[in-house]
């Protein structure tokens, strides 16, 4: 395991621990009945104990690795770019859907993601064929021919 991977694991476990502590503090301080409090109190207490154990274990591993491995971090790797792009494409898709409509969102986001995933051929083909295909299949066949009413947003 690289230093970078261990750091990633450490951050994830720290976030889980912080969430566990927030949950535990809220359980103690919130103004609810004793009955409503006992179950969350037990599970959050157990969760926090386990997370402290797990986080300290990873932290020790990280310190050991940091001593031996003095290489600098590479946060922006090709895999990280693809991962981030997929996530961003999903957000772009829903943002465009809310701002414009479903059609444009698909036409923009789908080929863009294919482009980021370095399939330029499929990206170009889908830029041309998605709008054409949508018009032919959805509009001519469904709307004109079968008289189907499209859902709101299309």
């Amino acid at each position: 395991m690289t230093k970078q991977n261990i750091l990633g694991e450490l951050i994830l476990k720290l976030i889980l621990l912080i969430y566990g502590l927030y949950y535990f503090i809220e359980t103690i301080t919130m103004d609810i009945s004793y009955n409503a409090r006992i179950y969350p109190f037990i599970i959050s207490l157990a969760f926090n104990i386990l997370m402290i154990m797990l986080t300290s274990e990873v932290f020790k591993k990280y310190l050991e690795q940091a001593k031996n491995d003095r290489q600098s971090f590479k946060i922006i790797t090709p895999e990280a770019i693809k991962l981030f792009s997929t996530y961003a494409a999903g957000i772009l898709l829903i943002a465009l859907t809310l701002l414009v409509n479903y059609w444009l969102a698909i036409i923009v986001a789908l080929p863009l993601l294919a482009y980021v995933l370095e399939d330029k051929k499929f990206s170009l083909i889908s830029y041309v064929f998605l709008p054409v295909g949508m018009i032919i299949i959805v509009y001519i066949i469904f709307v004109r021919f079968l008289s189907v009413r499209l859902p709101v947003g299309f």
């Binding site: 409503a36 179950y39 997929t86 494409a89 789908l110 294919a114 399939d119 499929f122």
Partner: protein, 490 residues
Amino acid sequence: MEYIEVGIFLWVVVGLLIGILVGVLPGLGAATALSLLVPLTYKMDTNIAIAFIMGVFVGAVYGSSITSILLNIPGSATSVATMFDGYPLTVKGYSLTALGASITSSSIGGIAGALFLMFVSRYIANFFMHNMDSPSYFWIIMIALSCLITAIGKDRTIGFASALFGLMVGTIGMDMMSFNYRYNFGSFYMGDGIPMVPLILGIYALSHIMTLSQREVGESISKSVQMHGSLWEGAKQTLINWVLVIRSIIIGAVIGVFPGIGGATANLVAYYNAKSKYNQDDTFGKGDIRGVIAAEACNNATVASTLVPTFTLGIPGGIPAAILLSILMIHGLTPGPTLFTENVDFVNQTFVTVLIANLILFPIAILTLRFFARITTVKISILVPFLLVFVVYGVYGLQRSLYDVIIVFVFGLIGYLFNKYNIPIVPFLISYLLGPMFEVSLRRSLRAGDDIFILVSKPFHIVLAIIALLLIVGPPLYNLFVKKPLIKQA
């Protein structure tokens, strides 16, 4: 006969085809296939939705065995054991024979599992209807959570932490007993809790899409698929080894009933059981057809048996069953003993559907085998954008809520990180689903009685408590007293 309709039949076929299609793609097993397709069922009639989903479920479990045999890559965890002897058979030039055995044993296993569901679940439901009270529910859920110990895997600490995280997420929103809001960060949207469908879509489907997106440029799941041997020889071998088929079916049917364990564990248990019985010539692991038969008969038998606790108690037998549970709830049905009295037609229809799906699996699998084997050559860069559109629109279409989409993205990221850092997702998801029921049954019990002894006030409660206790302390004690001396002797 009144439950067999052409429409239902056609939707089962469509579901089977889609299920095999998704199941064939490594990493996208039955759980991902079902979570991707939940949105399609929103507007469907309940019986059609169940027919479609059962087709997908059965198809995906079978489909995942194709890549295990041809490529040595399990389509999902339910077909890991199929790989042990399936791929060596492919290497020896008997891929079609292995696939023939897989198709035949899957169909037989599935049909037997469906019959088990038909005959057993009614009695279980009837029994629980007359014996269930809040303490009983508490112990049943405790048993379900205890079963998670088996699903947790090697690293118990991280598995327990994952399960506890699931229980905590399950408490977000309004407390159903005191009507107070809890852990919602003051958000109005989170007042209703974390919705089930977006969470499942995020943690299973989106996280898999994110993992797939990191593959190399232009990479497909496999480069070429070549098949040799005889399908019919595989089918013949399955029928010759009928005792093994029955043993594996029994293992699958029994293990499937326990929540959280499911096909992933059952196929390994059946495989090692067959190996311990039939491996005199040391042929297992080197291309023994009986290894494929045992694993496949077993994993398809679990498909129906995981539905037994889902229908009778409302406790999902596995992740696919949990998704099925969410579909039932979307369609206004409440799983539990009353389902068998208030929705008799629906229950009968579902049983018939499961049986039909397994009956027509055989011809469909034979006819489409070569086509589906080629699906694995589709490029990841084509697959990922389409799957992403499907997930995002699928969840947004549920109730046009941006909050649902945010949940998908948040839990997609959590699922991806859990997979990356080897934190098991199954304990999290099962605990998230069972947590609210567990809390309510505990508090109702305590409110009904003066003290904690209300939980063991009847002989039935004591029996359930002993089972739960055995499930918790059994595995560590077994390791301590039985396994270790054996290792020392070796």
